[in-house]
C-alpha cells in the first residue's frame, strides 16, 4: 500500500444480495468512509473497470450476466466477493435458486466476510485488491515489455 502507482476503477455488481452489502459498498464510497482516498474510483462501465466488487450469490438468472461482466473487463483484473452471500451463498445457500458464491462462475481473489459486511472490512478488501492489481499490472507490463523486446530482436535479425 506504501506506494500506489495506479488508480484502479471499481465496478460494483449486485448478484442476488439482500441489498445490505450493496448499500454498505455504496456507503464506503461516500464521505464518512471514503474509499476513494486509496486512489480508486467508482464506474458503471465494465469496459473501464479493473476491480469487480460483487455482492450476493449466483442464481440461474444472473449467472450469464456476471460472466459477461467479468469477460468485458480488461486484463489484468481483480474480483472481490463482499458479504457471506458472495463468499459461499450465505443464509440463502439452501434456497432452490442459489447456485453458490460468486466463485461458482468467476475466479474470486479476495473474500470479505460479514452479513452485512462492515464498511471497514470492505475497505480492507478494496485496499488488498488495489495491491493485488498493482502486482498483476506490473507482471502484465513485464510480459508486454518482454514481448516487444523479442519482436525487436526478431526484426533486427530479420
Amino acid at each position: 500500500m506504501a506506494n500506489i502507482k495506479r488508480s484502479p476503477w471499481l465496478l460494483h455488481y449486485d448478484g442476488s444480495s439482500c441489498n445490505g452489502c450493496d448499500i454498505e459498498v455504496l456507503a464506503c464510497l461516500t464521505p464518512v468512509y471514503d474509499a476513494e482516498r486509496f486512489g480508486v474510483m467508482n464506474t458503471g462501465d465494465p469496459m473501464q473497470a479493473d476491480i469487480l466488487l460483487i455482492t450476493g450469490g449466483i442464481n440461474s438468472q444472473n449467472e450469464a450476466t456476471v460472466k459477461q461482466l467479468y469477460d468485458q473487463m480488461p486484463r489484468p483484473k481483480v474480483v472481490v466477493a463482499v458479504g457471506v452471500c458472495a463468499c459461499t451463498g450465505g443464509v440463502f445457500k439452501d434456497c432452490y435458486n442459489i447456485l453458490g458464491g460468486a466463485d461458482t462462475v468467476i475466479p474470486v481473489d479476495i473474500y470479505v466476510p460479514g452479513c452485512a459486511a462492515r464498511p471497514q472490512a470492505i475497505i480492507d478488501g478494496i485496499v488488498q485488491a488495489v495491491d493485488l492489481f498493482q502486482k498483476r499490472s506490473d507482471e502484465h507490463d513485464a510480459l508486454v515489455k518482454e514481448k516487444k523486446r523479442k519482436a525487436k530482436e526478431g526484426a533486427a535479425r530479420g
Binding site: 439482500c18 450493496d22 455504496l26 456507503a27 458503471g44 438468472q61 440463502f92 432452490y96
Partner: protein, 362 residues
C-alpha cells in the same frame, strides 16, 4: 397510423449506472419518446420463502430479515408479529415502543438513502454525498442500540431481545437534533433550487385514480394524494403517537421527493414522542409449542405496505410464508408512468418510486 421503422427497443439494465440494483426494462421508443416499458425481473430471485422447509419458525425470523437489507428490521418485525398473532400472544408494551423506534430509524435511513440516490440521478453529486453523510448518524444510532448497522436481528417471536436504556435514549435524541438541523439546510436545496425543480416538477405525473387502479402503495401513492398508510391500522405503538400521513396532490417526482423529505422530519418527531412515552417493563413474552393457524400481517415500510402471510400446522416448520413487498405493487404504476416520457428521464423515474428489487424478487 403507426409509422414503421421508427420504433426501436432499447434494453435498460440489468447493470446500469443509475441503478444500484439489477432490474431490466425493455423500452420501446419512438425517436426519443418511450411508448412502452416492459419489465423483466428475476435477477435477484433467491427463493427464500421456500426455506420454510429447512428452517423452523424461529430461524425464519432471521431469513425474513434478509429479504431486504434496507428495511430489514421491519421485515423481521412483520414476520414475527404474524406468528405472534397465530400464537395469540400480546407483546409487552415496551417491546412495542422499541419496535416503533427501530422502525422509524429504519425509515429515516431509507428515505435519506433515497434522497441521495435521487440527487445522484439528477446529477447533483454533492447533494448525494450530503444525504449519505447525514444518514450515517442514523446508522450510528442503529449500531449503538442493536450492534448491527443494517441487519439488526433484535426481533424474536414474542418480542425483542435488546433494550434501549436511558443513556442510549439520550444519544438517540441528540442524534435526532443533529439530523434535524443538518437536514433543514439540505431541504432548502431540494425545494428552492431552480435546477433541481426543473428536473423534478411536472415529470412522471400520476393521478390518484391511476394510483388506485394500479394498486400502488407507500410514499409513491401518497404523493398523488392517496391517503394510504398502514401505520393507521394501529400496530405497535402507533395508536398512542400523534400520527397523520403526509400527502401531496401533484403526483410528480417533486411531490414524491416532498413527501419523503417531510416523512424524515415526521419520523424524528415520532421517535422523540416514543422515547418520551416509553413504559417500563418486559422485553418479550415466552411462547411455547408450535404455531397452528394462519395470519395476514400488514406493516408500513419505508416504501409502502408490505404484507406477510404465514400458515402453520402445528409443526416447527411453517407450511407457507408469503411476503408481498411494496415495490412489487408499484411496478405496474411505474410502467404506466414511463409511457410518453423522454428517454433521458427514465433513470430518474425508475428511481422516483424508490425501487427495492431484492425485496420484490425475494
Amino acid at each position: 397510423m403507426q409509422q414503421l421503422g421508427k420504433t426501436s427497443v432499447i434494453p435498460f439494465g440489468p447493470q446500469h449506472p443509475v441503478l444500484p440494483e439489477p432490474i431490466h426494462l425493455d423500452l420501446v421508443v419512438e425517436d426519443e419518446r418511450v411508448v412502452e416499458a416492459l419489465p423483466s425481473i428475476g435477477f435477484i430471485h433467491r427463493g427464500l420463502e421456500s426455506l420454510t422447509d429447512k428452517r423452523d419458525f424461529n430461524q425464519m425470523c432471521y431469513v425474513a430479515e434478509r429479504t431486504c437489507g434496507i428495511c430489514s428490521f421491519q421485515h423481521g418485525m412483520g414476520y414475527c408479529e404474524a406468528v405472534e398473532h397465530i400464537f395469540g400472544v400480546e407483546t409487552p408494551d415496551r417491546a412495542k415502543y422499541l419496535r416503533t423506534i427501530w422502525s422509524e430509524l429504519g425509515r429515516m435511513h431509507s428515505h435519506l438513502l433515497w434522497l441521495g440516490l435521487l440527487a445522484d440521478a439528477f446529477g447533483y453529486e454533492n447533494l448525494f454525498y450530503q444525504c449519505w453523510r447525514i444518514r450515517e448518524k442514523v446508522l450510528d444510532m442503529q449500531e449503538l442500540t442493536t450492534g448491527g448497522r443494517l441487519i439488526f436481528s433484535v426481533n424474536k417471536v414474542g418480542g425483542v431481545i435488546k433494550d434501549i436504556d436511558v443513556e442510549k435514549q439520550k444519544a438517540i435524541l441528540k442524534a435526532m437534533d443533529e439530523v434535524e438541523e443538518e437536514l433543514s439546510v439540505i431541504r432548502k436545496t431540494f425545494f428552492e433550487d431552480y435546477s433541481v425543480e426543473s428536473r423534478l416538477k411536472g415529470i412522471g405525473i400520476l393521478t390518484a385514480e391511476q394510483i388506485n387502479a394500479l394498486g400502488a402503495v407507500g410514499p409513491f401513492a401518497r404523493a398523488s394524494g392517496v391517503k394510504a398508510d398502514m401505520r393507521l391500522l394501529g400496530y405497535d405503538a402507533y395508536p398512542e403517537l400523534d400520527f397523520e400521513p403526509i400527502t401531496s396532490e401533484d403526483g410528480d417526482c417533486y411531490a414524491r421527493c416532498y413527501v419523503r423529505m417531510l416523512e424524515v422530519f415526521q419520523s424524528i418527531k415520532l421517535i422523540r414522542q416514543a422515547i418520551a412515552q416509553i413504559p417500563e417493563g418486559e422485553l418479550s413474552v415466552p411462547v411455547k409449542g408450535n404455531p397452528n393457524g394462519e395470519y395476514f400481517m400488514r406493516v408500513e415500510q419505508p416504501r409502502g405496505e408490505a404484507f406477510y402471510y404465514v400458515k402453520a400446522n402445528g409443526k416447527p416448520n411453517l407450511q407457507r410464508m408469503r411476503i408481498r413487498t411494496p415495490t412489487f405493487a408499484n411496478v405496474p404504476a411505474l410502467c404506466e408512468m414511463l409511457k410518453n416520457t423522454e428517454i433521458a428521464d427514465v433513470g430518474l423515474l425508475v428511481v422516483s418510486i424508490d425501487p427495492c428489487i431484492s425485496c420484490t424478487e425475494r
